[in-house]
């Protein structure tokens, strides 16, 4: 017991998110296609795409520097570490002392920085457009995310996800601030993952794309790394939302195998429900103009601020 089992739990969880991330993308795509009365690619198509991409040669632009080659690995590493810090079905993991919401925001911010710089590196106009739009969106989404973190941290008295999940699980009562934080976090998640009201993940129309414009120059295993990182990021946000706002079925360290199976099933259920909701949302709303995105993110920021302010009244402080 002790160290080895804790290590096993931590690495099991890391491998789980890695294995699950492409499936999540596949499920979302499939559901979206079905809602639009298309057949859609099979759920496991993203795995096949990744395998094919890993087998292909990399084509590099002539004027690209070492940064362009290193960036995909950095992006993937930062996102994977961030994803490993989020409790998926078990709290109290070995790394959970570092599983701080602010650390996760910082890791994702670092990944975004590297991606924007790499997009600028080749000197193509598309990369430049994508990078500038991405940074514009990020500069609004990140403060909103931090406000959400503040709200949640003020309620739970900690920024550690395990502690927050434990607190939320046995909190009886309603908090209007948390509802606002949830809406703000959903908007931020949509913006950060380049989903539909902000960016269209399946477009190649140059006037609308943000994320796709940045990765346009990548090919082969580099592209595979970036695609996998994007899937991981989506799973990460869904896990954060599930862990903070719907912490049902989470187990702590030292539970038996049956409890593990049940909580794993709970987690899968939550992810599937989230992807269904995401697909529905993307079907019913249209993409926004790029210059209206600040308004949407402004709402998220405002909700976060308001949530924090209202807490001072509700706490009876």
């Amino acid at each position: 017991m002790g160290m080895t089992s804790a290590l096993a739990a931590q690495f099991g969880q890391m491998l789980l998110v890695l294995a699950l991330a492409p499936a999540l993308t596949g499920v979302t795509r499939k559901m979206k296609a079905r809602l639009q009365r298309r057949i859609g690619p099979p759920i496991f198509q993203p795995y096949r795409d990744l395998r094919r991409l890993f087998g292909k040669d990399v084509v590099l632009a002539e004027n690209s520097s070492w940064l362009f080659r290193v960036a995909p690995y950095l992006i993937f590493a930062a996102t994977w570490v961030a994803a490993a810090l989020v409790p998926t079905f078990q709290t109290g993991l070995l790394f959970s002392w570092a599983g701080d919401l602010i650390a996760i925001v910082a890791l994702l911010g670092a990944a975004r920085f590297v991606q924007a710089v790499a997009a600028l590196d080749t000197g193509t106009s598309f990369g430049g457009i994508g990078a500038s739009r991405e940074v514009m969106i990020a500069s609004l989404a990140e403060p909103a995310m931090i406000m959400v973190v503040f709200t949640v941290a003020l309620v739970a008295g900690s920024t550690q996800l395990s502690t927050i999940a434990a607190f939320m699980a046995d909190m009886g009562g309603l908090r209007v601030s948390l509802a606002m934080a949830l809406v703000a976090l959903v908007i931020v998640a949509l913006a950060e993952n380049a989903r539909i009201p902000v960016d269209n993940p399946s477009t190649h129309l140059e006037v609308t794309m943000v994320h796709e414009a940045m990765v346009l120059e990548y090919s082969g295993r580099h592209l595979a790394m970036i695609e996998l990182a994007a899937s991981l990021k989506l799973l990460l946000y869904i896990s954060i939302i599930a862990c903070i706002f719907f912490p049902f079925g989470l187990i702590t360290d030292g539970a038996g195998p049956p409890a593990h199976a049940i909580s794993l099933a709970f987690y899968l259920l939550k992810v599937i429900i989230a992807s269904l909701l995401l697909a529905t949302l993307e079907t019913v709303i249209a993409k926004m103009r790029v210059f209206r995105v600040p308004n949407l993110l402004g709402i998220a920021l405002m909700l976060g601020l308001l949530g924090t302010l209202l807490l001072f009244v509700s706490g009876g402080m």
Binding site: G173, R175, L309
Partner: protein, 220 residues
């Protein structure tokens, strides 16, 4: 009072502040009227819940007045007025939404800071009610300041009145007579404003209140 009852009261009052922000954000008239309707509906729910937990049946009357007059009758009348004056396609040029929202957040912070100090000895329910009611009032004032269209100023005025009623219910309730007379005076004010709107429009061919400023000789 149980914590859950307090939480629900807080949720309704907080929702009222949130809907005030939606009002600030919305720049088309017909959706704005829908938001006013939602605002009054939330007020009615909030007042009814307080009647329940404070054991004061007369507050139910307030809730019914809020629901009937302000959530159904006035929005319907406003909608007819807007359609008759053919304003429903206009998009209002407000002061920039972002700036207004920031000002709004500042006002909410101000009212919380102020009210939490002033009402230090009162019960938590009264404190949160009064603090949130003051924010609703200030947001309504902000709405009246930042809009140029007379109809949206009327809507701002109605939301101020909603905030006052919220404050009244929290602070041990108003006497019923006061409540009913306030409701009727609001209705009368609404009718008078409506007549004025038509007169303004007849004379100036617009309900943009800057026309009035020019008429008075300001801003030459």
């Amino acid at each position: 009072m149980s914590p859950l009852a307090f939480d629900i009261a807080h949720m309704f009052a907080g929702g009222l502040v949130l809907v005030s922000f939606m009002m600030l954000y919305q720049d088309r008239l017909l959706p704005l009227i829908n938001v006013l309707s939602l605002h009054s509906l939330l007020l009615a729910l909030s007042v009814a819940w307080q009647a329940q937990i404070q054991n004061k049946p007369d507050l139910y009357v307030t809730a019914v007045i809020a629901l009937g007059f302000k959530s159904i009758v006035i929005p319907m009348a406003l909608r007819r007025m807007v359609v008759r004056m053919e304003l429903h396609r206009e998009i209002e040029v407000a002061v920039g939404t972002g700036l207004t929202m920031l000002l709004g957040i500042g006002l909410v912070a101000l009212s919380m800071d102020l009210m939490l100090r002033v009402t230090a000895g009162a019960s938590p329910l009264v404190r949160e009610d009064v603090a949130l009611a003051l924010s609703v009032v200030l947001l309504g004032l902000l709405m009246m300041v930042t809009r140029r269209n007379a109809v949206s100023q009327v809507i701002g005025f109605m939301s101020i009145e909603n905030g006052l009623i919220l404050a009244g219910t929290g602070a041990r309730g108003m006497p019923l007579v006061v409540e009913i007379s306030v409701a009727f005076s609001v209705l009368i004010a609404f009718i008078v404003i409506g007549i004025f709107l038509f007169r303004i429009r007849e004379r100036f061919d617009t309900v943009d209140l800057q026309a009035l400023d020019r008429f008075r000789g300001e801003r030459r």
